[in-house]
Symmetry: C2
Subunit: 525 residues, 2 copies
């Protein structure tokens, strides 16, 4: 599997003068080959091709888009284990995890192909004319959804396959009918090139316009900025830091035509331990918590970075079990030297706060960019006073908020910012408390988890991987699951159009088996 | 029907030191009584009450919200003709139009009550657990939509009933479960007070928390600014000028927590006349165009402010018929002195452009704030060069763009900004041209109209009253029709929750007759 280091501008493979390399985080050494970095000039070319491709891509229709997604999935599978091996070198992630992530990536592509065939995502509603209606006739009005236009997808460092070049954002944008300009993550440029080849080959095989897909990469911010600022781009999807997401939101809003930025930025994913649950299983909860905390070196958006519970001897048992588990956790390589450095800085920041006690911290180990898990604790009053505590430290770090009573506990929950998830552990005797907390928790997060752990996001129809600001830029959406396609669609209605000019899905006898609403009544023909 | 001039802060009726009056635009005279103006202090109180009411309002459930909407509708009807008479004095609109608008307002409220009972708007999806799935079991994941939180609704000047205190934005926000702080329009404060009474009485009759509804009014911008900036407010809906909408968008984005602003700002609603249609019915098109142009003194968001056609003798026949109709149009009172003045300034601005020819202009008539309709023309090149031409002049003003050939015509269409509507007139022989234009037109507007006129927005399930920026701030939404409720909802999912803690609509046996998606399959139980 020979890597060329070139960029994908439509069907062209481009080399630039600026070059950068991936680093193997396990060794700290650069990996061959050198990769071309794209700048504003390449961004402009890719955007122009995407805009050119837009209409033809939409006109190709949902079935063709479904086949494109399936072809991309097949092409990724066909890359075989070479893809996983390159990913392991570039990310430090173990092969088994990467194999699972590849399966998820392929599944996501197929899910959106299935969504296109299901057809409900196109939101068809038909209100036939009522010529006899008094005092005035009703016109014939028919609605369906259309793609927004070219979309920029920012690859995330922590999912080199499932949220990178052909990840969930790309799959849902292509499904919607939006050409995609993928901004690869510079930490895994080889994986980006391999996957971009899989996508570009599928675009070519289906004889779609080349501008349907481009992949640019760069270690510098100016590329992403230029892409979001380009007037031909109509939306952007991003998974990364709060700082990065906010910067893109500002660029998108400062455009002559503001556009939506779907930024999944950060969260500490609070875990609430109710008294009954602690009483019955403090030790198990402590161990399972640390398993979730340290999964993938804590490098998940849904990592449990905050634990809230009422002070008690049961809680002390939980803490003791967690302490032991943290200290026994083997060190894991982090994704990049920069992420490792930021993690260490985050730990130092927390340790240096007088009110923060260190419960446990993994030993410093020999090796490059190793994550040592850490667990801190703080009193509820200090937690509420100090906003820094509730900011994400990306990696296997978490803070326990010790609440002196139920009132302080409720106050701590009220003080939380928007989150991707909130987890609650409870048993039968906690039910009344759990029920009373639910309305608040629903306001704080996109996904509520009962007696489980936030890591592990199921790709399914009902999934919400989103949540109130600052977890995301837009709480009305999800970036995982079938509903993600809605981010890239807008409704258009047709008044009194003759049958020949209507899109097929809006005609009297539409495609078989598709959910449509006709005169207010839901029907599957 | 005694007016008190007081503000509605929840159940309280409040008088402030600052007072303002409505003006009868037909006479130019102030109307009694004096109305209290609200400022930032009253905004804060209303927002605090709304936030307090939020959870209880949502917990009251969809059926109770449906009954609230129906009660509001009944209360508005019960205000009788006194409401219409006050509206006539405050707006200069004829009674027949106002009676129609009242019927629409009442219908909108009932439509959203019906939507709540239909239940599909809550977006229920259930993916049951698959404990045997390999390589890992699937968790039970269930999604439904939740209200965003308190919403600020800005009343529009041009729909004192249907897009004001209890108009479409309020109806859809209340349906979603969002408390509403209505910012009344200072041009019709009496109507605002009467309708606010109808809403507040309904809130009280249903024993809902008082904060579910407040109504503040002021002739100054600081009130609306304070409302959108308040951290307890989670969304805003606005219909008005581009300048006003952009200002609110900026405030919303500058907040610590940015929020969505649904601003329906402006449009010129291009009308395209294809050659065959002109050939067959140039005169009729000219007359019908002017009827749409002058409807309600042109004070509609969907007013046809731009006409595009290829130069020909047929087009000259259209122009001649339109000229005659414009000159014969009786003058109509505009909504406010400020709107009349802005309209006159708009006409002067257009007339003063050397490249703009005046086709026809209604005679200056004796009376206050009278709209004289105006029709201008310009060559396609001058149109493309001069962006001012395609900016809305609110009132009965329109510009014809004379295109020398099909290529110039296409270029003019490409140059258009986002619109609420695009209308196309065509006959059998134009079908190929019409079909070829459709993809472009779909990119330009939320609603496409065949052989009709853009004025008159049907309130139905399939309606899209929206469109790409700058017609609105968010092309993914509509402010008229059933889909408008989606603006105020966000999805939340529940993972592995026991039945007793799940919302009723997410349980195995949900409410009867509601569309739900179960394991990817759409079902109505």
């Amino acid at each position: 599997m020979a890597l060329t280091g070139r960029l994908f501008i439509g069907a062209k493979r481009v080399t630039t003068d600026a070059a950068f390399s991936a680093i193997d985080p396990a060794t700290g050494d650069p990996l061959a080959p050198a990769f071309s970095a794209a700048g504003p000039a390449e961004a402009t070319q890719a955007c122009a091709l995407a805009a050119e491709a837009f209409r033809a891509f939409e006109q190709a229709g949902p079935e063709k888009r479904a086949r494109l997604l399936e072809r991309i999935a097949a092409n990724i599978d066909a890359l075989g284990d070479g893809l996983l091996e390159r990913a392991r070198f570039e990310t430090g992630l173990p092969l088994a995890r990467l194999a699972g992530e590849r399966a998820r990536t392929v599944y996501q592509l197929k899910l959106f192909a299935a969504e296109l065939r299901d057809g409900a995502c196109m939101g068809v509603q038909i209100d036939p004319a009522l010529p006899e209606r008094q005092p005035a006739p009703r016109r014939d009005v028919r609605m369906r959804k259309k793609p927004l236009g070219p979309v920029v997808v920012f690859g995330a460092s922590n999912f080199p396959l499932a949220f990178s070049v052909a990840g969930g954002d790309t799959a849902s944008a292509l499904a919607a009918g939006c050409p995609v300009i993928a901004k690869g993550h510079p930490a895994h440029p080889g994986v980006c090139e391999l996957v971009a080849g899989a996508v570009a080959d599928a675009v070519a095989a289906l004889e779609l316009p080349e501008g349907v897909f481009s992949m640019l990469n760069s270690p510098h911010h100016d590329l992403g900025q230029a892409l979001v600022a380009d007037p031909r781009v109509k939306a952007a999807a991003f998974t990364g830091s709060r700082q990065g997401g906010l910067a893109l939101m500002r660029i998108a809003q400062a455009r002559e035509e503001p556009i939506p930025v779907y930024a999944e930025m950060s969260a500490v994913n609070p875990v609430i331990l109710l008294p009954g649950a602690l009483e019955e299983q403090a030790e198990k909860l402590g161990r399972d918590f640390v398993a979730s905390l340290t999964l993938g070196a804590g490098q998940f958006c849904t990592n449990p970075g905050l634990v809230l519970a009422i002070q008690s001897p049961r809680l002390d048992r939980f803490v003791e079990a967690a302490r032991k588990a943290v200290e026994e956790s083997p060190p894991q390589t982090m994704l990049t030297p920069a992420i490792h450095q930021a993690y260490e800085e985050g730990l130092s920041r927390l340790s240096s706060i007088a009110e923060v006690a260190t419960v446990a911290c993994g030993a410093e180990a020999d090796g490059n960019n190793l994550c040592r898990p850490a667990f801190f604790s703080i009193s509820v009053d200090d937690f509420i006073r100090n906003k820094v505590i509730s900011q994400e430290v990306f990696g296997a770090s978490s803070v326990l908020v010790r609440c002196r009573d139920a009132a302080a506990f409720a106050k701590a929950l009220e003080s939380l910012e928007g989150q991707l998830t909130v987890t609650m552990h409870f048993v039968e005797k906690d039910l009344a408390t759990a029920k009373a907390l639910l309305p608040l928790l629903e306001e704080k997060a996109g996904r509520l988890i009962a007696n489980g752990w936030p890591t592990g996001v199921e790709v399914c129809h009902a999934m919400v991987h989103g949540g109130p600001f600052p977890a995301t830029s837009d709480s009305r959406t999800t970036s995982v699951g079938a509903l993600a396609i809605e981010r890239f669609l807008r409704p258009v209605c047709y008044q009194d159009f003759p049958r020949t000019l209507l899109p097929a899905m809006l005609r009297e006898n539409g495609p078989a088996g598709v959910l449509r609403r006709i005169d207010g009544v839901w029907k599957i023909d």
